[in-house]
């Protein structure tokens, strides 16, 4: 009846696991209780869960990322604490539990923090930045969101029911095969990857089509703002890379449950195929995470320097060049597997080339700031912190790509290097974007003081946590150790623990910043809609934007279109009469599809076949209902558009200290 699911799946075996499970359960119940107490279920359903508005979908993506950041960070803190105390002892975590935390930390941070964060920012910003009223496929956009959310829900469920994978985030066979990992952990990992991976491919399709087909009239490709260029390159990489990951995960599942021999030790399997497939996705994935951050830094640097970007075209070519290079260097992630001299030599020579376009970008940002009036607001702080710290990450990356440098591979040097890419590289960018576009979305700025505190806690925490790991790597400490017997390592690991505490302070500051800003939202309001004196078109819409973004679609004549309009005095343009605007109607099919895919995946993991059938049929029903519903649109009457635009103009005129 319930397949492999029995009462033993509940974590009665360990106090720590039970604590984690109870936190998830009470967290979920608490959320339900608060929504019920506020009486907001109807509003939540009609305004948010069923919404096809790209801005709301973006907000939900970012909210998902921030919630999962907390979970991923708790994992990190637990690992740092274990390593700080586990000299000549077992510490407080059994091996299997430590390995699960290791796996879930990385899986969550990549798939359910970084990916939803950057896709959320795409959703909020890109259509407005290119002067579009919507993305090309609004319903598919909702499907992407809810598939990603289902994947995240699976990872959270594994904390309560059963166990998560202990095979590392890359789930290398043969350890991840049924022979060595017979439990449901690896299956949770596989299904979380499949669901969120399909969601990412759909996002990639959506944004490629949106950016190539929906730009405002007159916006040539070489006048598209940098963040949207980054979104385009990222989306193309998603389309290229995610099929490899989905295939790797699916074939691993076939090995585990159909008895196939793709990656097994015996039977003619070849685990190198898995490693190749995984990194064929994995290396482009790093740039999928980084390019959006590069786009954000470009926007922030230009806006807060009060200047156009230095050598915009070189930035475009650099970002596209990085995208192309990233797709052809995956093998440098497994030099130590022994592919042979000629293969290693090729990849060892090509991989460092990525430093060239990256260097071009760094210089472009520096020259943009040079002789500009740089305002040191919170997004700029994150950008400067990135530029300084990322240089270190880039150099250590070049060290790792040199094939003969075997000594650093599989040590904490590698751990430090990729966290150097992911935290000051990617996450600082997303946080800068969060601070920069928050007033765009909600109509009030985030408070500055707590933002600065958050920045300093994050950057100090980063250095404290990861410089010791660089040093430990040189000392030969392998990665993924849950206990060790070298006394000389412990002091560094204790310093790294302090770093994690400092990052905890950074997260706390961000939470306080959000709370304080909501409390003081009247004082922080930006009724002009353009708080930073922005340059690109997303600041031409109201803040928060109307459902249709642009009452009149602007005509663009060059880069920094909104800046040009402000210079020309056409920014406040108001047509004699407005026209009716069609936007997509809300649809419950997206969220139902997400829920059903969760049911399906959960049932497949536990082999509850009748439940899997229900889930599968539910998915089909949701897709068919939506695709054969041809008139799923909502019309906003011209008079309604006019009323909204009038309210906006009045609010801007009454605002003190209008920028424009």
């Amino acid at each position: 009846m319930f397949g492999k699911l029995t009462i033993d799946a509940l974590p009665f075996y360990s106090g720590i696991a039970m604590g984690g499970a109870l936190t998830v359960v009470f967290g979920a119940l608490g959320g339900v209780a608060i929504i019920t107490w506020l009486g907001q279920w109807r509003c939540l359903w009609t305004e948010w869960l069923t919404s096809l508005d790209h801005k709301k979908i973006g907000i939900m993506y970012v909210a998902l990322a921030l919630v999962m950041l907390l979970r991923g960070f708790v994992d990190a803190m637990m690992m740092r604490t274990q390593q700080a105390v586990a000299l000549d002892s077992n510490g407080y975590l059994p091996t299997d539990h430590f390995d699960q935390i290791l796996t879930s930390h990385a899986t969550i941070m990549v798939f359910f923090v970084a990916m939803p964060f950057l896709i959320g920012l795409f959703n909020v910003v890109v259509p407005q930045q290119i002067g579009a009223r919507d993305v090309a496929f609004p319903f598919m956009n909702a499907v992407s969101l809810w598939l990603t959310a289902s994947g995240a829900a699976l990872v959270m469920t594994s904390l309560v029911i059963g166990r998560f994978s202990a095979a590392g985030w890359s789930a290398y066979p043969p350890y991840s095969e049924a022979q060595f990992s017979p439990g449901v952990g690896v299956d949770y990992w596989i299904w979380a990857i499949l669901l969120s991976g399909i969601g990412s491919i759909l996002t990639g399709i959506n944004f490629v089509v949106t950016i190539l087909k929906r730009r405002a009239p007159g916006m040539r490709l070489l006048t598209v703002p940098m963040f949207s260029w980054a979104a385009l390159c990222t989306s193309i990489l998603m389309l290229f890379a995610f099929p490899a990951l989905i295939l790797a995960a699916a074939l691993l599942g076939l090995d585990r449950h159909v008895g196939m021999h793709f990656f097994t030790e015996g039977g003619g399997g070849n685990m190198r195929n898995y490693v190749s497939l995984f990194w064929m996705w994995g290396h482009p994935e790093i740039y999928i995470l980084l390019l959006p951050a590069f786009g954000i830094y470009s926007e922030v640097v230009a806006t807060f320097s009060g200047k156009g970007l230095f050598a915009y075209e070189s930035l475009v070519y650099a970002i596209a060049g990085v995208a192309v290079l990233s797709a052809m260097v995956w093998l440098h992630h497994f030099f130590t597997m022994g592919a042979g001299h000629d293969v290693n030599a090729f990849f060892g020579r090509v991989a460092p080339l990525v430093a060239v376009p990256t260097g071009v970008m760094i210089f472009d940002w520096l020259f943009t700031m040079y002789r500009g009036r740089v305002q040191f607001s919170v997004p700029v702080l994150f950008t400067l912190g990135f530029i300084v710290t990322f240089v270190m990450g880039g150099l250590t990356g070049v060290l790792l790509t040199l094939a003969p440098a075997y000594v650093m591979h599989d040590t904490t040097f590698l751990v430090a290097h990729f966290h150097n890419m992911m935290i000051p590289g990617a996450l600082f960018g997303y946080l800068a974007g969060y601070q920069y576009w928050f007033p765009k979305v909600f109509g009030f700025r985030l408070e500055e003081k707590w933002g600065r505190r958050a920045f300093w806690a994050w950057i100090v925490g980063f250095y404290l946590a990861f410089v010791p790991l660089y040093i430990l790597g040189f000392m030969g400490m392998p990665q993924h150790l849950e206990r060790y017997y070298v006394a000389g390592w412990q002091p560094y690991l204790i310093v790294a623990e302090f770093g994690a505490v400092s990052i905890l302070c950074g997260i706390t500051c961000l939470a306080i910043q959000l709370a304080v800003s909501i409390r003081d939202r009247a004082a922080l309001a930006v009724s002009s809609g353009d708080p930073w004196n922005g340059r690109t078109l997303e600041w031409a819409t109201a803040s928060p934007p109307a459902p249709y973004n642009f009452a009149v679609v602007p005509r663009v004549h060059g880069i920094d279109a909104w800046w040009a309009m402000k210079q020309a005095g056409t920014a406040g343009y108001r047509p004699a009469r407005f026209q009716e605007i069609i936007i997509p109607a809300a649809s419950s099919a997206g969220v139902v599809l997400g829920a059903m895919s969760f049911v399906f995946a959960f049932a497949m993991i536990w082999q509850i076949w009748w439940l899997a059938a229900i889930g599968g049929l539910g998915i089909c029903a949701a897709v068919l209902l939506q695709t054969f519903h041809d008139h799923a649109e909502h019309r906003i009457a011209a008079s309604e558009v006019e009323a909204m635009e009038t309210r906006r103009a009045t609010a801007a005129a009454l605002a003190p200290g209008v920028a424009m």
Binding site: H261, A564, T570, I582
Partner: protein
């Protein structure tokens, strides 16, 4: 940039234009989706090629060449279905509902024949102890052929749905646009099949022909 202005007529397209653009976008989106799908098949075929050098204890090349007659039959059926779909396209362009339905049904039957042969062949192999769990090579073979067969089955389901829609609602613009995308998908599957035959079957056939000539 002093010439930046907004005028009343820019960007405001008529509803007909907007509908046409929306359809263009859907075709474009499907093309991109198929490219992503093509990568999946390319990777599966690459894995097959790696595995074919490493058959271990499972039956290696020999049993796969047994499938030659069926492969020829499948190829003929699928190429014929591509042609019937193209004829259906002519009928759609002329807005002839009856002929559209007839040619779509022909396409469906040809595709169904393709799937029937494939199922019987794979079943026969599994029954003869040459199933997907026998060796890495057979895993790769069953997966790449099975993935293509699954796509064809989805295409068949899609044909049924659209035949139903055209029969009930007629050849309205939405149905025509859906049919055009189904056509892209169907012809794409034919291209994938040609790649599979070229990589899975052709080398063996050539090898046999070579050894027959030499022997």
């Amino acid at each position: 940039m002093t010439d930046s202005v907004i005028t009343d007529n820019t960007g405001e397209e008529s509803e007909a234009d907007e509908a046409k653009r929306a359809l263009d976008e859907k075709v474009y989106g499907l093309c991109i989706c198929l490219m992503s799908d093509a990568i999946v098949f390319a990777l599966l075929l690459a894995i097959f090629m790696v595995m074919s050098h490493n058959p271990t204890d499972g039956p290696g090349g020999q049993p796969l060449s047994v499938r030659l007659p069926q492969t020829v039959a499948q190829t003929v059926l699928l190429l014929a279905s591509s042609a019937t779909f193209a004829v259906a396209g002519v009928a759609i362009a002329a807005r002839q509902r009856g002929r559209t339905l007839a040619w779509l049904s022909a396409t469906f039957l040809l595709g169904l024949g393709f799937i029937a042969i494939e199922i019987s062949q794979l079943y026969g192999m599994a029954a003869a102890n040459a199933g997907p769990s026998r060796s890495g090579l057979l895993s790769a073979f069953f997966t790449v052929v099975g993935a293509h067969g699954t796509h064809v089955s989805i295409g068949l389901l899609w044909i049924v749905l659209l035949v139903g829609e055209v029969a009930l609602r007629g050849l309205n613009p939405f149905a025509v646009s859906r049919l055009s995308r189904l056509g892209l998908f169907w012809h794409f599957l034919v291209i994938v099949w040609i790649s599979i035959v070229s990589i899975v079957d052709l080398p063996e056939i050539l090898e046999h022909a070579g050894s027959a000539a030499n022997g």
